[in-house]
Structures are given as structure tokens and as C-alpha cells.
């Protein structure tokens, strides 16, 4: 989960490291995910969210499709 200068740099990094390209998206989308994903960590009653609850968060920020499916 890294920040690159450009999509072209992701492609070059993938070729150099032999790590396949996964999903490329905007920092703005990741920011929305980070806010929602971690907003409960400083609560005494924290518990790990269920798969369904985590999937809802991904959906809310527009990260949908096979790559983002937590099941299957």
C-alpha cells in the first residue's frame, strides 16, 4: 500500500520487482477509507469489525469489485 508519483511509476516498479499491479486509485479515496477504517481505535469498546462491516466501508468509498471483495 504505497504512494507513487504516477501510474507509469507503478508499472515500472511492478516490472522491476515482479510484483503484479493490483489496484491504482486516488489519495483522496484512500483518505476517506483511512478516516472510516480507523475511527474506532481509540474507543474502549473497540472490537474487530465483521467482514460485512468492513465491506460496507470499502463500498462507501467506492472501492468495489473483485479486488476489493473480502469474501470468495
Amino acid at each position: 500500500m504505497q504512494l507513487f508519483r504516477s501510474e507509469e511509476d507503478v508499472m515500472a516498479w511492478s516490472a522491476a520487482t515482479a510484483v503484479p499491479v493490483g489496484a491504482i486509485f486516488s489519495p483522496e479515496q484512500l483518505w476517506q477509507l483511512a478516516i472510516r477504517w480507523y475511527d474506532d481505535r481509540l474507543e474502549l469498546g473497540w472490537r474487530r469489525r465483521t467482514v460485512g462491516e468492513r465491506q460496507v466501508i470499502l463500498d462507501e468509498v467506492g472501492l468495489t469489485g473483485e479486488f476489493w471483495s473480502l469474501t470468495g
Binding site: G22, W31, A34, L42, R48, E66
Partner: protein
């Protein structure tokens, strides 16, 4: 999760937010238990609740997501502290939890070109570039270090 374990988990996170992930001996002092008992609590929080990630084979906290006890390529800085996230997602998570004006001074893994993300409270002020996730979401927890 017992009330005692929940209190230890929250203590770890409150300390992490202040810039220092505690060792078992710190938890032992805070809760008047032995360091061994504190270590067992941390191991239980990892094993039974996925609440922490410990350094393999140890009672020491590696990740209290999004906070990393080890330095990384994703530091987060503000006027009040300095933290590290294991990845850009975690670094943004720290900035969101800290809530103040933060910077994430990092660099493109391929080119080394500096990239600086700036945030304020729940607002992303500036974020160059693109994000890349190599691992599909259902496999994120198979090897959390690589993910």
C-alpha cells in the same frame, strides 16, 4: 474481550497516539501486574481479538494499526509528535486519528521523488501521486508486513 484486556488495548493505543508504543514493562507498571502477565495480555489481544500485531515470537507490539513501533517509509509529523505508519493507508489513518495538522513526507518507491501529503483534522489538503495496493483485500491479513 474482558474489561481488563480492553483497558490494556486502549492504553496501548493512547500511548501510541502520544508517540510511543508501550513495552510489557510499561503496561505492568500502569496496571500493577507482572511484565509476564502484561506480555500474555498482549499475546491474547493479538491471538484472540486481532487487536494488535506483535513482533513474531515476542510479547512486543509491532503494529497497533495504524501505528507502527518500527520506523517506516511513511512517517507522520505534526507540531506535537512524530509517528510511523506501515504503509500510506496507515499513515493517513494516523493523521486522521491525531487530528491536528500533519505531514506525511515520503518518496515514490520507484523514482525516489519526494511526495508530501498534508492534512488538517479530517481534511486532506494536498496529496500528490497515486495509491497502489498490490494485494487483493481478502488476502490483506495473510502476510501483513508485505501487505
Amino acid at each position: 474481550m474482558t474489561a481488563e484486556d480492553a483497558a490494556v488495548r486502549l492504553f496501548v493505543y493512547e500511548q501510541a497516539r502520544q508517540g510511543r508504543i508501550p513495552a510489557p514493562i510499561d503496561i505492568a507498571r500502569e496496571f500493577s501486574v507482572t511484565p509476564r502477565a502484561a506480555g500474555e495480555t498482549l499475546q491474547r489481544l493479538e491471538r484472540d481479538h486481532d487487536a494488535l500485531v506483535l513482533l513474531p515470537g515476542s510479547p512486543y507490539v509491532w503494529l497497533a494499526d495504524p501505528f507502527s513501533a518500527l520506523p517506516t517509509d511513511y512517517p507522520v509529523t505534526s507540531a506535537t509528535g512524530r509517528w510511523h505508519g506501515a504503509c500510506i493507508w496507515d499513515a493517513m489513518g494516523i493523521a486522521a486519528l491525531v487530528g491536528a495538522s500533519c505531514e506525511i513526507p515520503t518518496a515514490c518507491p520507484q523514482t525516489g521523488v519526494g511526495l508530501r501529503v498534508t492534512t488538517r483534522d479530517h481534511e486532506l489538503l494536498d496529496a500528490p501521486g497515486v495509491v497502489h495496493f498490490a494485494v487483493p483485500s481478502r488476502r490483506w491479513w495473510e502476510s501483513i508486513g508485505f501487505t
